[in-house]
């Protein structure tokens, strides 16, 4: 067990490698109750959200969700989150555990009279049900939402918001339901999932799975002094919008050019697992450092994410990574590092 965002959470149940493979091949169930939920509603909710988040909320149909970011005035990342449009003027935001208070205070400080804001984090338990067999597990409770959509189902009579989203690169779902039913739904799904190869999964596998598909982790790959442009998340930033917090700084950065970019790296051969803060070199020149790293359970090779000087930040670039004073050859790769075999 380790501390994570104020929660005491298991790193693993049966083992990181075992849980990782369960998600890639069958289905894994993660307790993600630590994550925060914020509700935003009111006639001006859409316009207001568009001014505080980077992606374009106008493009969001009812029941749809989108990945988006909350920035500081310098364009740095406060948090990355998913926003769902539940009804016309009702939005449901799922934010990182360690950032709940900061996100909420930051939003409240910008609140206008025609928008209401509510931190519902303590009311919700949440599970991630991820892997190719996850639809089979949940279909017995009703029709399932399409990718990036959210809808309500009943499990054991409990109203459960089911979103088809995740952090693993597999088909999967995230479930949000009353906190008091936390253990009941968890136990029931594991029981029903047994025949499908379902396993309980911890933070360790969550981290290796997301790294293989190059999803950034806030606090590691994202931080208040890195912009989404540097992090390669420009797709989730709509600079055409007239205004949102951080926009001016991003436009300036775009004009002056990026200095570093977040890339995916893979060791060329056998190496120790890669780790955050390892230095990346070309010859004697230090061109950046890793912000995340592990050994990919799927391919058995060291992988990592890190910010490199832009002139070296393109796929195919050969680099060396310093591990305790020894250098290991690695290559900048296209994202994601792991692709589903079709």
């Amino acid at each position: 067990m380790i501390g994570f965002g104020g929660w005491n959470m298991p790193v693993f149940y049966s083992g990181i490698l075992d849980e990782h493979q369960a998600v890639r091949q069958h289905v894994g169930i993660f307790d993600i109750s630590h994550m925060g939920q914020i509700e935003v509603s009111g006639p001006a909710a859409k316009r207001w959200l568009n001014a505080v988040l980077t992606n374009n909320v106008e493009r969001l149909d009812i029941t749809h969700g989108q990945y988006t970011l909350m920035l500081n005035e310098q364009g740095g990342v406060i948090d990355d989150l998913i926003i769902y449009r539940r009804h016309d003027d009702d939005y449901f935001l799922v934010v990182n555990a360690a950032k709940i208070e900061e996100d909420f205070d930051w939003m409240r400080s910008r609140l206008t009279w025609d928008v209401s804001l509510s931190d519902r984090s303590a009311s919700f338990a949440a599970l991630a049900v991820q892997g190719p067999r996850s639809p089979d597990l949940l279909l017995q409770f009703g029709d399932l939402p399409a990718r990036n959509q959210i809808q309500e189902l009943r499990i054991l009579g409990i109203p459960v918001l089911v979103a088809r989203t995740g952090y693993t690169g597999e088909d999967g779902f995230e479930l949000f339901y009353p906190a008091a039913a936390g253990g009941i739904v968890w136990n029931r799904l594991l029981e029903l999932g047994g025949v499908l190869g379902a396993k309980p999964c911890g933070l360790g596998a969550r981290d290796t799975l997301r790294m293989e598909v190059c999803y950034p982790l806030n606090g590691a790959d994202l931080s208040p002094d890195r912009t989404p442009l540097e992090a390669g998340l420009g797709l989730f930033v709509d600079l055409q919008k007239p205004e949102f917090v951080g926009r001016g700084a991003l436009l300036m950065q775009k004009e002056s050019g990026l200095k570093q970019r977040l890339v995916a790296l893979k060791a060329d051969g056998k190496s120790p697992p890669l780790r955050a803060h390892y230095g990346v070199f070309v010859g004697d020149r230090r061109i950046g450092e890793l912000t995340s790293g592990t050994q990919s359970p799927s391919v058995g090779i060291g992988i990592g994410l890190g910010y490199l000087d832009v002139s070296f930040a393109h796929p195919g670039q050969k680099v060396e990574i310093d591990v305790r004073g020894r250098r290991f050859a690695a290559t900048v790769e296209k994202k994601p590092l792991y692709k589903k075999q079709c």
Binding site: I16, L17, G204, T208, K270, P272, P273
Partner: protein, 126 residues
């Protein structure tokens, strides 16, 4: 957790088997279970002079890298060649084929100062 009676133990979870002035060193069953899936082992160079309690090897799981300390002082005379291709031996057979390295003891008295199996069992609550 397995804690064989014929070995000595360091507080930092290494075991040592001493025979004819040569000590074989590995990590305990308890340590491998705590570290979980071991995917990489970095061993000392043969010929390295180690002091007691000096960091000598690194064992890495998917999640973290952990220093392994030599419980005794001496010169490294052999390292386990099988761990390069099969580091998981440390998990599956920590007291046998998962041994890490051997040292030529410079002070055989040091072994007697290490914990007995009974003492180590108390330490880990086994």
């Amino acid at each position: 957790m397995l804690v064989p009676d014929d070995l000595r133990y360091a507080e930092t979870h290494e075991w040592i088997r001493s025979e004819g002035g040569i000590a074989t060193i590995g990590i305990t069953d308890h340590a491998q279970a705590e570290l979980t899936d071991i995917v990489y082992v970095e061993l000392p160079q043969v010929g390295t002079a180690l002091g007691a309690k000096q960091a000598a090897a690194v064992v890495e799981s998917v999640k973290a890298a952990s220093d392994i300390y030599s419980p005794v002082s001496g010169e490294v005379v052999e390292v386990n060649p099988k761990l390069e291709s099969n580091p998981a031996l440390v998990n599956t057979d920590p007291y046998g084929s998962g041994w890490l390295f051997k040292v030529k003891l410079s002070d055989p008295e040091e072994v007697a100062s290490l914990k007995t199996a009974a003492e180590y069992s108390i330490q880990i609550g086994a």
